[in-house]
Amino acid sequence: MKALNEFLRSEFFFHFRREKIAVAGSVIVVFFILTALFGPLLVPQNPYNLQSLELKNAYKPPAWLEGGEAAFLLGSDEQGRDMLSGIVYGTRISLFLGVGVMAASCLVGTLVGLYAGYAGGRADTLLMRIVDVQLSFPAMLVALFIMSAFGRGLEKLFIALTLVGWVQYARTVRGAVLAERGKEYIDASRLIGLSPFLVVTRHVLPNVTTSLIVIATIHVGNVILTEATLSYLGVGVPVTEPSLGLLVKNGYDVLFSGIWWISVLPGCFIMILVFGINLLGDFLRDELNPKLK
């Protein structure tokens, strides 16, 4: 409770309240998190349960259009699946994957960065070479390559996106370690007998957390976009567990017959979600960057 009070009175929160854009961004993000967590309890259908679908309900337009039904608020797809339910479950997959990949990449990248920066020497050169080479290839293409080799699947997508994502964390953390390493307080903490692990995690790491927060926020949005793109290309999530990107792909085939809602609406949700994340990330970058103050 005390911590919350302190946070509410902090300079950070004061600036946050004044930036309407940042508030809007976090409202969007919180809305999507709640949707992902509790949405499945509220929507009319479980879109993964194929027995509950009826073909006679196929291609229903959204409720506000002619021929729409209140039971299918955002219309239905070719199997009679309620779009709203599909979108809520898809949001869940997209968001969980985004956050999960971010957390895993952040963990791996931070450990590698700390080790490379602190150990220096050959290990550092080798690790940073790997990072450099990987950064010179577009993340999308590397992920596409990995997915094309291993095939569809949530866990494969998770591994592929993490393999692509850790490098930026490693580079940032290593840079910070190098900047701090020569300073006196690091020498001091080594002299009092702290192990290298404790020195880097307790004394060096706090210096990078702000940059890590900014990178991580934007990263979640990027992962969601990359996942959607891969699923659109047919190498992402399996057909039985449609993420938002796969829903867009499913709707593409019938777009030319004027049935637009199947691909347009899930895309809207991706866009709003990623936009919210980016708004927040933009605010955090300006706010946490000491150079701009």
């Binding site: 854009i21 577009p138 867009v248």
Partner: protein, 321 residues
């Protein structure tokens, strides 16, 4: 200078070597390619025969050396589906991709540079805020979805622009190009705009950030005091300095666009090498995938090299060593 170039060339070769190693070994986990080659009703004996004739009975590392040896001779094998040399398949489709990427680059630059400069010069104006908000919006858009929206509005609803294929082409240096015919140009519009949007947004933000930093420097104040017109100050004094870091970034973005062309080409049925890649992935046509990855990697490495060299020309403070 020459030593530096030589060293860079050797580094490039090393990177490509590593890429070939990774691509080869990862792809070798993707199932038995022999089953792709033989007819579905082949007997075990025929399968063994095919395996031997493809050299797939040998240990993996020997296969790798054969692969590299053939690679250096420009031979990347034959497609399982098209039954043609894959190097020919990929290079044939390259001009279509380059054409689309080129148009997208042009479009991105034409919009991003003036908009970025304006947003930096008048940071508080309403238009600048709209530009910056719009660019953040642009970053958040899934590009395939933008393509779908554009198709829906311009092709399905309004019927103004075609939604698939390259349209009419005309030969130039023996290669068919779409931008030389009116029909082809109309086909280029939607894919190029779709592809450009993401880059445009990021580029605009970068140019604005760089410009704002440059505009704070003393030489800008001096130029202003000297009476340089504000247009000249912005575009010839400040922009030149602001563009230096943009160049590196831009090289990476061109690579990114080639990668994202896979998506755009799939949406718009543009017969480029990106669509070939996606089709080959869905058909498990392994030689094509490998060839695409090797060729595109070589392009990326080449772009990085060129950017590094260009850098030294535009920024004399950097010394090649």
């Amino acid at each position: 200078m020459w030593i530096y170039l030589l060293r860079r060339l050797m580094q490039m070769a090393a990177v490509l070597m590593v890429v070939s190693l990774i691509v080869f070994f990862v792809m070798s986990f993707t199932g038995d390619p022999v089953l792709m080659v033989v007819p579905p009703n082949a007997t075990d004996l025929e399968i063994e025969e095919a395996r031997r004739s493809l050299g797939l009975d040998k240990p993996l590392w020997i296969q790798y050396f054969v692969f590299v040896k053939n690679l250096t001779q420009g031979d990347m094998g034959r497609s399982y589906i098209f039954k043609q040399p894959v190097s020919k398949l990929v290079t044939e489709r390259m001009p279509a991709t380059f054409e689309m990427v080129g148009c997208a680059v042009l479009f991105a630059l034409l919009v991003a540079v003036p908009a970025g400069v304006y947003a930096a010069a008048r940071p508080n104006s309403f238009l600048s805020r709209a530009i910056m908000g719009g660019s953040l919006f642009g970053i958040s858009l899934p590009s395939f979805w933008v393509g779908i929206l554009l198709i829906y509005f311009f092709a399905v609803e309004l019927g103004l622009l075609p939604s698939s294929g390259r349209g009419g082409t005309r030969l130039l240096f023996g290669v068919p190009w779409s931008f030389l015919t009116w029909d082809g140009l109309r086909h280029l519009v939607l894919p190029s705009v779709t592809l450009a949007l993401g880059t445009l947004a990021v580029l605009l933000r970068l140019i604005r950030a760089q410009m704002r930093e440059v505009l704070r420097q003393d030489f800008v104040k001096f130029a202003r005091a000297k009476g340089v017109s504000s247009r000249q100050l912005l575009f010839s004094h400040a922009l030149k300095n602001a563009l230096i870091p943009v160049v590196t970034f831009f090289g990476l973005q061109v690579g990114n666009m080639i990668a994202f062309a896979t998506v755009t080409e799939t949406i718009f049925a543009w017969p480029g090498m990106g669509k070939l890649l996606v089709d080959s992935i869905n058909a498990s046509d392994r030689p094509v995938i490998v060839a695409y990855l090797m060729i595109v990697s070589a392009i990326f490495v080449g772009i990085n090299f060129i950017i590094d060299v260009v850098y030294t020309f535009i920024d004399p403070r950097i010394d090649l060593r």
